[in-house]
């Protein structure tokens, strides 16, 4: 079950922070930015999946991000799994 403070906004903040730790400038990280623009590759997606598991206890497989092009789409994948609980 997600904690009371888990909201779409809090998930977005956590994801943006995680992406910034991986490398891209914080200012470049928006919902519209593409993973390609941010130089996010499959290794980064594994790290993001780890963060999701550690933060919300939801197990994501890198394959869950298949077809995902933008940060917003990645966020939707994560939110759909986290907020449904």
């Amino acid at each position: 079950m997600s904690s009371p403070e888990t909201t779409p906004q809090s998930i977005e903040e956590a994801l943006f922070e995680a992406i910034a730790e991986i490398g891209p400038d914080r200012a470049d990280i928006t919902r519209e930015a593409t993973l390609e623009d941010l130089d996010i590759d499959s290794l980064d997606l594994v790290e993001i999946a780890q963060l999701v598991q550690e933060t919300w206890g939801v197990e994501l497989d890198p394959q869950d991000f298949e077809g995902v092009r933008t940060v917003g789409e990645a966020l939707d994948v994560i939110s759909a799994r986290v907020l449904v609980l």
Binding site: I22, G23, P24, D39, L43, E47, Q50
Partner: protein, 400 residues
């Protein structure tokens, strides 16, 4: 006639500072980079040369390598544009223990938090070939690329391997050297348990009181170019790599063969390829670890090769000033050797004060001294020795 090999750029990150000039300036001045018994690169800030992404994805040894490579390529005039087709440029980098800090951190993560918490970057950060791969990616150089692993001789073997690739015509130019970031509790403990490292924390090569090496970290990089190609593009070489010799003791896991026959053969091979007589060598940059065995055997080997000429030959150890950089040491010492030869000066062996019977070469104690070549209008020639656990011996002959 073999293709000649010109050194057109050098770079170093060492306990004496960031940059090859800091290394040679401070060593010649007799400064020490060793603090509290370790040779850390305290002034090194990888954020100066690496992007956040590179920082996130690299072990410290790769960060040291990239920083030294950046300086070497800039010095060669390669910063903006590669002077040869990328597939004609190689990169060979040595390392003794690779990304050992990443390895031990990931081991701790595994034990504390389980498989799922282990980083997907663990392998690509710890692999010993990460440094040569990262340099290639940064500059888009696509020729032969690999890592050489031969413990404390890796840096010298990497350079020797690079020389051979240039000579064979497989590349027109090559980025080569060594990198190490082994100041990790596991490595410190393991060397201490085999009594290889100094209990006093003082690096005293060739001194009667020596009690083992001081562990250090750093990186040294060189840009080598086929001599005619370098000339054709108007590069001004810092020096030339004249010869390389590599042998094995085939004797013991860690102890050198007592007569020094393996190192002596490597020195003779390097001089033979260079076409340099023993009497014409101006300087020996010793392996000089300050272990009781190495310094005795290395002295014996030098005497075997140089005969009567050994008595007047300046022999000094950079490890007295920065400690033992393991797989980076041979590369950092090659950088220091070419710069010392250019200045016509033998940098000093710090902390040397007490002679031991049989260890009677000119170890250039405490103060730098001019090379004989300084008095004559001719090139200066030196050799740089590197020997590794496992009985690996590598010697480079350099002129400037």
């Amino acid at each position: 006639m073999r293709r000649g090999v010109a050194i057109t750029g050098v770079g170093a990150v060492t306990p004496l500072g960031v940059g090859a000039e800091a290394l040679i300036d401070r060593w010649v001045a007799g400064a020490s980079g060793i603090e509290a018994g370790l040779g850390r690169c305290a002034r090194f800030d990888p954020r100066q040369t690496l992007t956040r992404k590179q920082l996130h994805r690299s072990d410290r040894f790769t960060q040291l390598a990239l920083t030294a490579a950046t300086e070497a390529l800039a010095g060669a005039g390669w910063a903006d544009e590669l002077p040869y087709p990328p597939e004609r440029i190689g990169c060979i980098v040595g390392s003794g223990v690779g990304g050992v800090e990443t390895l031990t951190r990931q081991q701790a993560t595994l034990q504390a938090r389980g498989v799922d918490a282990c980083s997907p970057l663990g392998i690509p950060m710890m692999m010993a070939n990460a440094a040569s791969g990262a340099i290639a990616m940064r500059y888009g150089i696509t020729g032969p690329n690999w890592c050489v692993a031969s413990a404390c001789a890796a840096g010298a073997h990497a350079i020797g391997t690079a020389v051979r690739l240039v000579q064979a015509g497989e590349v027109d130019a090559i980025v080569t050297g060594g990198a190490e970031a082994g100041i990790d509790p596991l490595v410190v403990a393991a060397f201490a348990r085999m009594r290889a490292t100094s209990r006093t924390g003082i690096s005293r090569p060739f001194d009667a009181r020596r009690d083992g090496f001081v562990l250090g970290e750093g990186a040294g990089m060189l840009v080598l170019e086929e001599a005619e190609a370098a000339r054709a593009r108007g590069a001004e070489p810092l020096g030339r790599l004249l010869g390389y010799g590599a042998t094995a003791d085939a004797y013991h896991l860690t102890a050198p063969e007592p007569t020094g026959s393996g190192p002596a053969r490597a020195m003779a091979l390097a001089l033979g390829e260079a076409g340099v007589d023993a009497e014409d060598v101006d300087y020996v940059n010793a392996h000089g670890t300050a272990t009781p065995l190495n310094d005795r055997v290395e002295t014996a080997a030098i005497k075997r090769v140089f005969g009567p000429a050994a008595a007047a030959l300046p022999v000094s150890s950079l490890k007295s000033a920065i400690g033992h950089l393991l797989g980076a040491s041979g590369a950092v010492e090659a950088v220091a050797t070419v710069l010392a030869l250019r200045r016509r000066i033998a940098p000093p062996t710090l902390n040397w004060a007490a002679a031991e019977e049989g260890l009677d070469l000119d170890y250039v104690p405490v103060r730098a001294k001019p090379l004989r070549a300084a008095a004559h209008a001719r090139r200066a020639v030196g050799i740089s020795n590197s020997f590794g656990f496992g009985g690996h011996n590598a010697v480079l002959c350099i002129a400037a």
